[in-house]
Assembly symmetry: C2
Homo-oligomer: 244 residues x 2
Amino acid sequence: MHFTSQQHLDDGVLEREFTLGEIPGILWTPASASAPVPLILFGQPPLGLRKMYPRLVARARHSAAEGFATATIELPGSGDRPRWPAAEQARADLRRAMDAGEPVSDEIIDALILPLVEKAVPEWQAALDALLSLPEIGGPVGYSGGVISVGIRLAVVEPRIVAASFFAGSFVPRAMFEEARQIAIPLHVLLQWDDEGNDRQAALDLFDAFNSKEKSLHANMGGHTGVPQFAGDAAAQFFTRHLK
Amino acid sequence: MHFTSQQHLDDGVLEREFTLGEIPGILWTPASASAPVPLILFGQPPLGLRKMYPRLVARARHSAAEGFATATIELPGSGDRPRWPAAEQARADLRRAMDAGEPVSDEIIDALILPLVEKAVPEWQAALDALLSLPEIGGPVGYSGGVISVGIRLAVVEPRIVAASFFAGSFVPRAMFEEARQIAIPLHVLLQWDDEGNDRQAALDLFDAFNSKEKSLHANMGGHTGVPQFAGDAAAQFFTRHLK
């Protein structure tokens, strides 16, 4: 992990960009912390870090004020990271199906998501190794948002993640429902009730599949990008309950 | 409205029992308030005020600390209030169906709930008239919990109620779904995902039917009485957002 830039934001948050091999990432830490702090990993949608930056930094400031370090890395195939032909094909197939108003087939969803999960999860684990080796970061570790299938696999294979907040707003391969049944950590699941790109019943089925004794579904009105401010506050309270 | 007793609880809450005609009720106010305060009506399940008192007073203390007055009245046919034969019959039919593991028919649900709604809602409105005439209570007014069908009808007919929190945990006559479509105030709906006495799909359909632009569904694990503490905190934050 190499830090490539750093700046102090005006509210006492230290923002550092880094690379982990070829993967760009950002780490935010509360500059005033005197002891190692818990960490929240911000999962990514496949839109690219640069596009997501304004929302990420707002959440990072909020989390730093609560005493959390936060970090994120670019997904494979997003931002400036190299695409691979099968993913480009799957994206084109998805666009074609949606433009035609057709249901998105399981084949398209599998081709779109499963390779992304396979590639991304080991990268998140490598990032976690590097982040936890920093003296200012202790634990425990939470995972928040992004492509829900990446979060599910990561929660299954990575015992250092003790609580997770998922956004039920992306296509989920059927195979991931089996993995969801293996998750027993506390979960906080956001659902936009009228999400135009999401199958509500599938999201409810997925919530039902998680094996966690503590899991909460927070459904709110509005489309995919219309998550209300108070829903973000509730997710923050979830992490404060479980990581402090 | 006649106050029949009053006591100061140890955390600066004034608790007053009252009768409104034949109906017993309780009012809690923050003793330190210097200006009229908003009011939250605590809806009742049909278990009797005396049985519910420990949970009610805990919520009342919490609300008073946030600057709210809270009040409740006994439902018709509950506690020491007179039963009526049709309701007794409906309760017996319900018990028989549940003991036999049979689905509870629409006829039983209608007989159980609709007369209760018809009787209870005008009483809540009369209580609201009396409570709002007290100098220490201003507004706005919220309604929280209890038999959800009573809350739905009250929200439809009573414009002084500006926000409501419902517990999707009781039988709902089909006719109430039509009334739900007339509700446009902000709603906060609690659902216990594994509620043994509740049809989960019906609860989701009811949530979908509300016409409110702001409505949130908070689903948590556990049975009917297993609502976690943090779910109560989230409902309290909902009222703070809308009544302050």
